[in-house]
Subunit: 275 residues, 2 copies
């Protein structure tokens, strides 16, 4: 473990011989009323990544935020339910003790890992043409309303945070360069977290900061560990758009490319909103 | 239960007092080497829909195809792991007996159901402008290579099945009108199945029918039961596009609109491919 805040947040130690891991929320990734959901997804994935029976690398992950996570310790269990020749199917759950000490499920998930083989490839989702990161201003550095935002260097090209919360938004697309604020070589856990780095599309679409909460996020990983390592501490180009906003829930689609233009991950999430 | 083949395929009867349900694959929805994945997803969802503790209606579903399903009986278990005031989080698994009679997990999943409230809404994914269904030719009626295709009326506007499998495809987008071939009022189970109705994008992109298999599908439902019922037996407009094709796995994004232009569901899947 390094002293990088993400490595601290991802730290999991065996709690017993049953493969249950113990961890704790980290103040550096605190959101308004709980941890940043991206960090929670990364912690869930980390339980798979450090499992002794792991086959291959993640290709798909779904995390369902079942209940609020409170500050403090939690347990994560990753179970390899089915292992095939080249794919492995996992179920995940995170639990926390309630006020009576009883363990309650707060997060559920599934992961698929796989051994990849070299095949034909192509992309039908090209990286948008944008100025390079050093020509795009960094979003406000310094104390923000929530801690986790300070852990990321964000350079919005399009669709930054509204300057006027006047209820007159007219689109839901953000394009930005992004990476860990304190440099850290990209890996699957940090890519999982970055897939959730876009602020809720409903805020941009309405220019109105209504109460929200992610219900479920699904991320597909399109690269192997070696390709991720090649990205190193470089910027990623992220794009997120809202799709359908209807009666309390909306979905947003996101993509993350390396600076070299390779599509690393595609992600979708369903988000609760009020009003 | 009606005599509609989908209702027959969805038929689940309590196996015991523990909430485990028993069903069987249906020949009308057979694919090349197993059941159509859309029907399997619909069966998984059906186990939630007929659960006595169900809260609200589905808003999100992920189904992971962990192993091949063989012809014959299976069991499905849907567990409401966490019930909140307005959302409910489910885990799902489908098992089949192997040749020794031991139960093996073949399908895993999670579902979130919710009570919706009336809120502000908007769409940032408008229905493509296309001719009405009665002006678009229906895709070949009659015996096809796989049974399930005959259960759907498909009217492709764009990106139909390649006429020449010459390895010279150049895009991965299909737009088509679609509905059950034998009329059946739309519900959540049939919408879940329709979300998987698009043939694998890699076949279109390459104009080459390589071996494939869906690994995971995630569908978001943007309407309630009443809005679905209003669609009735009308056509849906479906659109699917490939995104990233890399080293054995690609993802495809899909949308389904009602003929009136309402976005009913958005869906993403990750698919294995060979070569």
């Amino acid at each position: 473990m390094t002293d990088h805040p993400l490595d601290q947040a991802l730290a999991l130690r065996p709690r017993d011989a049953d493969g249950v891991l113990a961890g704790a929320t980290h103040p550096a990734y605190w959101n308004m009323v709980g941890p940043f959901g991206g960090t929670t997804a990364a912690v869930m994935l980390q339980a798979v990544l450090q499992h002794p029976q792991l086959l291959g690398a993640p290709i798909s992950m779904t995390v369902n935020y079942a209940a609020a996570i409170v500050e403090g310790s939690f347990e994560v269990e990753a179970v390899p339910v089915r292992t095939n020749r080249s794919t492995q199917h996992w179920t995940l759950r995170m639990v926390q003790a309630d006020s009576t000490g009883e363990l309650q499920v707060c997060t559920l998930g599934t992961v698929v890992t796989a051994l990849r083989r070299t095949t034909w490839g192509a992309t039908d989702l090209a990286m948008p043409a944008v100025p390079p990161p050093d020509q795009v201003a960094r979003l406000g550095i310094g104390p923000s309303r929530v801690a986790w935002v300070e852990q990321y260097e964000m350079r919005p090209v399009h669709g930054s945070i509204p300057t006027a919360w006047n209820g007159e938004g007219d689109h839901s697309e953000t394009i930005m360069w992004v990476r860990d604020a304190q440099p850290r070589a990209l890996d699957f856990a940090s890519l999982a977290a970055l897939s959730d780095v876009f602020y809720p599309r409903v805020w941009l679409r309405r220019a109105k900061p209504v109460p929200i909460g992610t219900v479920s996020i699904t991320t597909y990983f399109h690269v192997d560990a070696q390709e991720l390592a090649a990205v190193g501490t470089g910027h990623l180009l992220g794009r997120a758009t809202g799709q359908q906003f209807a009666n309390g829930f909306f979905d947003q689609a996101a993509q993350l490319w390396s600076e070299a233009g390779k599509l690393l991950a595609t992600s979708n999430q369903l988000v609760y909103y009020k009003e």
